[in-house]
């Protein structure tokens, strides 16, 4: 079982000039089972990105460790795909070339990778855009390319850092459905960071609300909305009274945290 396990994870940044220390994360413990969809929510600066970067292997923790299927994570790897807020596409390549970047790096057979690219472009709804340069795409389309580029590599875990943050409401809703569909069809473990409470509720089968200074998991929820989102329309779910209750509860929680930060500052 390719479970993702964080064990007493700590991250302290040291400013090289002043020597000042920031406890970005302290004692994070959780297990993410294969196929789970985890949403992470929290006030700005509580260490969400830091947590994701550590799981991706871009930075190494100062304490504790992360394992995926028993192996300790020390560096980036293809089994952990990453989707960035701004896509981070290679603007000198076409859509298809962007998507098959990972395959080319592995020197996959041309024929095979062409088929895979075709398939994934289809799934993310970009059929026929293979030869378009990426700088000619809209923000939502670019995010789809980033998703396809990540998925074509067939990772075990997909990590997303505010992937839909820069999109308008409508595109955002479509992308949320897309994420849910992908989750169902591929059965992948997904961890998604978001600023939007609604999005976290809709997408998160599990939901962590994090608190800052030091960054830690403040409260954990298990939610039914993601399952329901596979069948029902997202807009209907948002009308649900249970949904509204949880949303209010979390909003108050985050609001209080922000208040506290302000008060302390």
């Amino acid at each position: 079982m390719a479970n993702l396990i964080c064990d007493n994870l700590c991250m302290t940044f040291t400013n090289p000039q002043t020597g000042g220390k920031v406890e970005a994360l302290k004692d994070i413990n959780f297990t993410l089972k294969k196929g789970e969809l985890l949403a992470v929510l929290g006030p700005s600066g509580c260490g969400k990105t830091t947590l994701l970067n550590m799981i991706a292997g871009f930075i190494n923790p100062t304490g504790g460790h992360i394992t995926l299927g028993g192996d300790v994570i020390k560096s980036p790897g293809v089994e952990r795909g990453m989707v960035f807020q701004q896509g981070a596409l290679f603007e000198w390549l076409t859509v298809a070339k962007n998507v098959d970047f990972g395959l080319r790096m592995k020197s996959t057979d041309k024929q095979e990778s062409a088929e895979l690219v075709e398939k994934w472009l289809d799934i993310v709804g970009l059929q026929g855009f293979g030869d378009t340069p990426t700088y000619q795409l809209s923000g939502g389309m670019q995010q789809r390319v980033a998703l396809a580029r990540c998925l074509v590599n067939n990772p075990d875990v997909i990590l997303m850092d505010e992937p839909l943050g820069a999109l308008d409401a409508l595109t955002r809703e479509k992308m949320q459905s897309l994420v849910l569909d992908l989750w169902k069809e591929t059965g992948k473990t997904i961890m998604i960071i978001t600023h939007s409470v609604e999005e976290a509720l809709l997408l998160g089968e599990r939901l962590f609300v994090m608190a800052p200074r030091p960054g830690r998991i403040h409260k954990e929820y298990n939610l039914p909305f993601a399952e329901r989102g596979l069948k029902e329309s997202l807009r209907e779910i948002k009308q649900d009274s249970h949904f509204a209750d949880v949303r209010e509860e979390i909003l108050t929680m985050i609001w209080n945290m922000e208040e506290e930060i302000m008060g302390r500052a």
Partner: protein, 642 residues
């Protein structure tokens, strides 16, 4: 061709000027209309705004050409082809009377005599106050004071009109009358005189190397020319007139004797060395002023009045006789007009250093002709042409001789029958030394190609070594810190400051220049590649890591393309800087290249050639830049849109 152009210059110029004017005006109209059409966006600095607009280029270029036409006297020469010749005749007259004018307050505010009196009085006063009293005895001092005031008296005698000798009076009067006579003849105009056949046979203005024909080719010109001859004679007479009043005769002898007496005492040897030197110096100063006054060049002011009026009359007669030529000169010959000096008339001002467009085209035509036998090209080398390049030479250049040496076996020995049969080793050696005929390929040739070749090779080497180093410097602490000081130390030094050193080490032929340019291109390429590489977004590198790329793959597939915009901009800058440096380097040394041509042209003041080389450099530089711009838009269309 040249003669035909010269005959039809007015028509040609009219067409060209008319076309330029039309282009200038219509481009302004198009531009204004376009500006109205394109909606004004509220954002300042929208890159789309700077696209297109060829009409403004046309507007600028045609305005520049019109200005060039005008200030080079191209318009003047086209429409008033005889004006230069006539202005030359006027200039001749001006030169002829200039010795007389120099003595009068017409040009220099004061009579020359006034200036002399004032200056000498000042100097005598100074002498009086600076007498070295320690060096002279009391009596001698009194004597010296007396001598100074006697010298003053010399000046006073010369300045007194009552003392003017009858002879001089007479001469001045006659001269004034003669000058008035010249004015009358000028005012009467050309009566029945006509240009000589010899004059009419002269090459026309600007068709040969000697710009302006000297002999008069118009009636008015002949008039000025004949009057000039008489004016020259009058001027010669004037400068010989002397004013030596009889009152001065005895005085001069007396002063001279008294100075001599003092000199004899000085050299008698009874003084120390310093005292002798001081006395000698002082006496010499006194004598110098005295000698200046004893040759009769100071006249009473009133005595010159007649001449002064006569010359003023002649001047105005000259201006009248010039007629509309004066207006033409003022309107179409901006600058100092045409001046006669010694044996020829020359254009002065912008007419001199700014060659006429037609002359520039003719010079370029001659330079561009590949027929070096018929005086085309420059110094036996065409400007830009091609030639057959033996392949054997190229092979020999690449292949070093030692390749033959390390082959097994021995070189051939001569046999007993007195023959030598080359073996394989000999044949390889022959190949390495270029002795084998391998046929020939066509290759560019000429000054321009030589210059371009140097730039392109240097640029190629600069890119080849600079880009990889720059990229590594952009991503690695070791490379950055190791090479940074080295490059930053040599880069700020202007390339020309390196030139003497590098030309000494590598020789003045291509090697040295290429290396110099390589240094320039290398630094620019390193810096631009480095900036581009270090500017790669972290998220892109992280994404590629997650996609399974290795460090090497990221370098090639992410960092290099990401740095491409900077690299291409670097190449664009490097071409420009190399080109500029090359021309300067070619001026220092060498026997081919555009800079070499300009250097030779400079030493012989061939302004047409200088401008042609300048234009060639400019146009080639522009061509390089346009190509690079095109390459940039083709290869990095995403620039500014990421």
């Amino acid at each position: 061709m040249l003669d035909w152009m010269s005959d039809n210059r007015a028509a040609i110029a009219a067409i060209v000027i008319f076309a330029l004017a039309i282009m200038f005006i219509s481009s302004i109209f198009i531009g204004k209309k376009q500006a109205k059409l394109s909606a004004k966006d509220a954002v300042f600095g929208d890159p789309e705004r700077t696209k297109g607009g060829w009409y403004w280029s046309v507007c600028g270029i045609s305005a520049l050409l019109l200005v060039w036409f005008y200030f080079s006297w191209g318009v003047g020469r086209a429409y008033f082809p005889n004006a230069a010749n006539e202005m030359c005749q006027v200039a001749k007259l001006e030169e002829a009377i200039s010795p007389i004018k120099a003595a009068l307050p017409l040009e220099s505010r004061y009579y020359k005599s006034t200036t002399l009196v004032a200056r000498n009085s000042d100097q005598l006063m100074q002498l009086q106050s600076q007498m070295p009293t320690a060096a002279f005895s009391q009596n001698e001092q009194t004597e010296l004071y007396a001598l100074i005031s006697e010298t003053r008296r010399l000046m006073a005698n010369s300045s007194n009109p009552a003392n003017l000798s009858l002879d001089a009076q007479d001469q001045l009067q006659v001269l004034a009358q003669d000058l008035v006579g010249l004015s009358t003849r000028l005012a009467a105009g050309p009566q029945g005189i006509s240009p000589s056949a010899e004059a009419l046979a002269q090459p026309r203005w600007g068709t040969t190397h000697i710009e302006i024909p000297m002999l008069p080719i118009t009636e008015r010109g002949v008039l000025f020319d004949t009057i000039t001859l008489d004016a020259q004679e009058l001027a010669a007479r004037f400068v010989k007139i002397r004013n030596n009043p009889s009152q001065n005769d005895a005085l001069i002898v007396d002063i001279k004797n008294r100075i001599d007496a003092l000199k004899i005492v000085t050299t008698s040897g009874k003084f120390d060395e310093d005292v002798t030197t001081a006395r000698k110096a002082y006496l010499k100063a006194v004598e110098r002023i005295f000698k200046r006054l004893d040759d009769g060049i100071i006249f009473p002011a009133q005595s010159l009045e007649g001449i002064n009026t006569a010359i003023a009359t002649l001047d105005s007669a000259k201006n009248d006789a010039r007629g509309q030529l004066g207006t033409i000169e003022a309107l179409f010959f901006p600058g100092d007009g045409i001046v006669k000096s010694r044996t020829q008339c020359t254009e002065q001002g912008s007419g001199r250093w700014l060659p006429k467009p037609t002359d520039v085209v003719a010079t370029f035509w001659k330079l561009a002709s590949p027929n070096t036998e018929a005086d085309g090209g420059f110094k036996g080398i065409p400007l830009f042409w091609w030639k057959w390049l033996p392949v054997g030479d190229v092979v020999a250049m690449i292949m070093p001789d030692w390749i033959a040496d390390i082959l097994p076996g021995e070189y051939a020995r001569h046999a007993a029958d007195g023959t030598v049969t080359p073996n394989f080793k000999d044949k390889v050696l022959a190949l390495a030394q270029g002795d084998v005929n391998l046929g020939a390929v066509p290759m560019f040739d000429g000054h321009v190609w030589d210059s371009m070749f140097r730039v392109l090779v240097a640029l190629g080497l600069g890119i080849m070594f600079g880009v990889p180093l720059g990229i590594y410097m952009g991503v690695s602490k070791f490379f950055k810190s190791f090479f940074d000081p080295l490059i930053e130390l040599y880069r700020p030094v202007p390339p020309l400051a390196w030139a003497p050193l590098i030309l000494t080490i590598f020789g003045i032929q291509d090697d040295g220049k290429i290396f110099l340019l390589f240094m320039v291109a290398f630094a620019i390429m390193v810096i631009s590649a480095r900036t581009g590489a270090s500017g790669t977004q972290l998220s892109k590198i992280r994404a590629s890591h997650s996609l399974g790329a290795t460090n090497g793959q990221i370098l090639r597939n992410v960092i290099l393309p990401n740095a491409l915009p900077e690299i291409l901009t670097g190449i664009r800058i490097a071409i420009g800087v190399c080109w500029g440096t090359l021309v300067a380097a070619e001026m220092l040394a060498g026997t081919t290249g555009v800079g070499f041509i300009e250097n030779v042209a400079r030493t012989v003041s061939d302004y047409e050639l200088i401008w042609v080389t300048i234009l060639i450099m400019g146009i080639l530089g522009l061509a390089f830049d346009l190509i690079m711009r095109w390459v940039i838009t083709k290869t990095i269309p995403w620039r500014g849109k990421g």
